[in-house]
Every structure is written in C-alpha cells, then in structure tokens.
Amino acid sequence: MKRRKIPSLPAAIQVLALAAVSIFAVGCKEKTAVLHVYTWADYIKPEIVARFEKDNACKVVIDTFDSNEAMYAKIKAGATGYDIITPTSYMVSLLQVQGMLQPLDKALLPNLVHVDPDYLKIAIDKTMDHSVPYMLTNTGIAYLKSKVKDFEPSWAMFDRADLKGRMVMLNDMRETIGGALKFLGYSLNSTSEDELAQARDIVLRWKKNLAKFENEQYKTGLASGEFLLVHGYSGDILQVQAENKDIAFAMPKEGGTISCDDLVITKTAKEVKLAHAFINLLHDPQVASQNSNFTRYLCPNKDAYSQLDESIRDNPGIFLAPELRAKCEILADLGADNAKWIKVWDEIKAAK
C-alpha cells in the first residue's frame, strides 16, 4: 500500500516558501535613498542621524559589528551594501591595501579643515586620502585614588608588589606587549625580535603581580573596588567614572597607544555622495562635540574641543600634553611580522 500523502506535501511547502519570499521582498522595497553605515553599537548620537535624514531626505540604516577582524572577514568574503564603515586605523590600512576603499573627494568634505592637525601628525593616513579620523581613545592606566598610594603615571606601576593580585592588564597582545615596549623606550609597533624578547620578560615580571589579563570586566572590577589599578581604554574608564568618582585615569609618562576609529567609504558603496555628506556632518564642530559627549570618546576636531563636557576637556589623560602626545603611537598593521608578536604573546600566556 502506498502512502499518497507524501508526494502532495511539496505543494504546501511551495506555497509557504512563496509567502515567506514575498514578505521579505516587501520588506526590502525602498523608495528614498538609503545610506548604510556599518559601525560599533551606540557610536553615533541618534539625534545626529535623525537630523541628517531630515536634511537630506534620506534614510540612514545602521548595522553593527563587534570586532574589526570579523567585519574584515565578512567584507573580504564579498559582503556588499555598506557605504560607510568605521574600522580601527590598523584595519583601515589593511582594507586600503586590499583595494576595498574609495579615495575621498575632498571637495565634498569642507569640514575637514576642523580636523586636529596635531592628531594627523601621528595618524597613519596623514593626508586623509581614504579615511577621516572619527573617534580617539587612549590606552592608559586607571586607578582608585583613595586606595593606590603614591601613584605615578608610569608603566612601572605594574611592578608594585603592594598591589599584587589587584591589578589587571588588557588581554590584547598589541596593547600589553606594546606597554612593555614603551616602558623600555621602544616603538610599540616594533618588529625587532630582540626588543620583543625584552618586552616579553617585562610582561612576564608584571604577570606575577596581575590578577588576570582581561578586556571587559575590568571596568566593573575597578568600579566595585575588586581591582585597584587597571590597564584600559579611556573611553571605557570615562563611562565608569560617572559612577565612581574615586577613579582616575592617566597616560603613562613613557607613552602609550592612541587608537582611532576612522570613517571610510567602501569601494562598493552605492550612495557615495550621501556618504561624503554624512562624514562631512560628523566633522561639523557642533556635531562633533555633541557626538563626543555622547560616546565619551574624543573626536579629533580642534574646533569642537571648547564645547566638550568638562570631564573630557579638563582630563589630562585624554588631552595629552604635547610632549607626552609625541611619545604616543597609533597601532600600525604589522603584516607578516604579526607572527612574531603572536609567538611572544603565546609564551606570555603559557607561562606560569
């Protein structure tokens, strides 16, 4: 006996699949121009986006990614449809080398005159040919003022035996080995095996005093007093400071990392004009200051500085003194030399 029901079911499937497809098709139909921005979550003040939509009679769709590497893998595999992306500058160089970015049309970006020339001196793309700096963060040291006696803004703090077990460094090879390289007076983009070996020995010495290497919970730990001194990003620390006034942030006197997320336009962008207009708006001094006050990161726009919140403007850990700033560096893409760093980092992580 045959079960006749089986051959008849595919008809039902087809009907349903068709229904599904039509639902999606309706959802995708657009009339007005749409600008697609691919960025970190909560990285652009919503009111600014709303204003741009109104002024340009367009729609801005924001999608989010959570790591430069994952974003790169996706774009590299051929994902298209994004007009503007905000990768960190080392990733921008990689995207540029791979021919995945468009050159910028300066005529459409009059607001670039406001970009801080002091920052551009240390930037990778100094002439802003294909990227515009968007948000800066410094990697330095945060600590509890009442608990850490005789604080000194130096990487040497991680040698302090009295803070043993109450300190955390970032679980990020570029930041942590970079700190040790700076402590030794080398460039944090060093690819010399000898310098890296020295830096490894320094980090191994520090490791004995550390509770752990960690990237997220250190903020909470500092706010609750579990940790007394942490290696962290100024943007994160400023957010926690709002909750615990006892927290202070300082940039080590030997120098440290400045990271910058840049605005870039992809090669496959459809709305090139709108993308330029959006980048231009983000560097309007008024907008840039509002945006910085919202994200707690620093937009390197010199004419916006006077309108920043006091907590950002008067913070020597964010506005670095010129001689300290000269010692700081941007993380550069290491290319093939990355393997040397990974080897050293593995040795550090594996050591008891």
């Binding site: 089986i6 599904a20 979550a41 959570d66 790591s67």
Partner: protein, 262 residues
C-alpha cells in the same frame, strides 16, 4: 534502606549552576548601577531606556520575523524529510539523504557561516533578511528532521493502515492520525528550531546584509561599546516570554494527551 540524598544534592547543584547566573542577570536588570559594581538601589531606568532604543526593537523584530518563518518552513521540510528517511531507510538514496541531514549538526558554525556567505555572493543573492532566513532553515531542518525521526522510530504504522482500511483519504489520515501522534515531536522540533534561530550569532553575522541586524548581532556589538544593563533588561523580558511560552506549551500538550487518550 534509606535512600541516598546524594543524587538530590547533585541535582540541586546542577540547577543552581544553571539558574544562578540567570537570576543574577534578572536582579541586575533592576539595579540602578550601570556597571553592576554593587547594588545602587531598585530602578526601572534600564527598562525605560530600552523603550527609547528603536535600533534594538528593529533588531528584535527582525529576529522574531525570521524565527517564526524559519520555524514554520523548517518544520515542514524537516518533517517530510524525516518521513522519507523513516519510510525508505534501507535505500541508498536515503542513506545519502541521512548523511546530508546530519552534516550541518557537526560542521563548525564559522565554516558554515563563511561558506554560506561565499555561496550567496557567488550566486548574486543580495544579503539581507532573506539570506539569514535561508541560512537558518538550512541548519534548523536537520534538528527538526532528527527529532521527528526519533518520534517516528517508535511509531506504529499499522494505525495509519487501519485508518486507510476504514476509508480515510490521505488528508484525513494525516490530520486525524499522523499529526496528533507526531505532535510532541513536532512541538519539540519547532521549539528547537525557534530557539536556534533566535540564538544564532556566528552564521547570522556572516549572512546578514545591510539593514538586517538581528538581536544577537546587536547585543554582541553593545557589549563592546554600549550599556550592558540594557542587555540585562532585554534578556529579562525575553526570559519572561520564553518561560511563558514553555509553560503554555506544556499546558497544551498535557491537555492534548488527555483528549487524545492514546
């Protein structure tokens, strides 16, 4: 002889291990403190802030639309493939079919994500909600098929034959006999597909196109840069929803069994 308390203790510890983090999350969603560094008083501020986050709600809507459609489609496709697998288990074709159904369960997610992405790009399919839907169906079919297949394994097909002997057409047989008896398997498979679809991050990240951010993608990005208590509040709402659905479905399945009286 007195029964040992040991199994009870182990069960208690396991449950504690499962649920304690969730309880902490729920408590923290009512904490006024942004960084959960200590109790700073009861507050609904995160729920209020959540109301004013259109991007999160758009992501939640995307997630739910996809999950519902994925559940329906993968239930149908998965069940039919389970029927074929069970009925013609001995044929070589079905053995190949079984392998194909089984493979997505063991292929690493990252591999599936990137290969689906490359497949879509090569085929010229624009990335968006539709590609996420296709990708989710791809792996959900396997789960549904295997769950339903398990149910079919102890299924007495003489009941179906009896129904047909008594003059029931295929539709009547399917609706009155097959469907009710398969219902627990279908419910389990459907819930599994729904959960997997709502939950998936890795594959979704790769096949999502512009304007198709789902909740997991949004939440991952928020952990990096945004306010975590919003995530706690959102998770609490999702938890309440999930528990309600589970409770309701348990109620329904219990009354079904009573009515069915099999």
């Amino acid at each position: 002889m007195k029964r040992s308390r040991f199994p009870l203790l182990i069960m208690g510890l396991v449950l504690l291990f499962f649920y304690l983090p969730i309880i902490i999350l729920v408590i923290n969603s009512f904490n006024a403190s942004r960084f959960g560094s200590g109790w700073q008083g009861f507050s609904l501020i995160w729920y209020r802030r959540l109301l004013h986050e259109p991007e999160i709600w758009a992501a939640a809507r995307n997630t739910l639309v996809i999950a519902v459609l994925v559940t329906i489609v993968s239930l149908i496709l998965g069940t039919t493939s389970a029927l074929a697998l069970h009925r013609f288990a001995k044929s070589r074709l079905q053995r190949v079919h079984y392998t194909l159904i089984y493979t997505p369960l063991v292929v690493p997610e990252i591999l599936m994500g990137i290969s689906l992405l490359m497949g879509f790009v090569a085929a010229g399919v624009g990335l968006g909600l539709f590609t996420i839907f296709l990708a989710h169906v791809t792996f959900c079919i396997s789960y549904v098929a295997l769950v339903v297949l398990g149910r079919l394994q102890d299924f007495d097909f003489s009941v179906v034959e009896a129904a047909q002997d008594l003059g029931a057409g295929w539709w009547a047989t399917a609706r009155k006999v097959l469907l009710p008896m398969l219902a627990p398997g279908l419910a389990a498979g459907g819930l599994l597909a729904f959960t997997l679809s709502v939950d998936d991050f890795v594959i979704t990240f790769f096949v999502a196109g512009p304007g198709a951010t789902t909740l997991p993608i949004r939440v991952y990005s928020m952990i990096k840069h945004g306010a975590t208590p919003l995530i706690n509040a959102l998770s609490t709402i999702l938890l309440v929803l999930t528990f309600t659905i589970v409770l309701v479905s348990q109620r329904l399945s219990r009354s079904n069994i009573l009515e069915g009286g099999v």
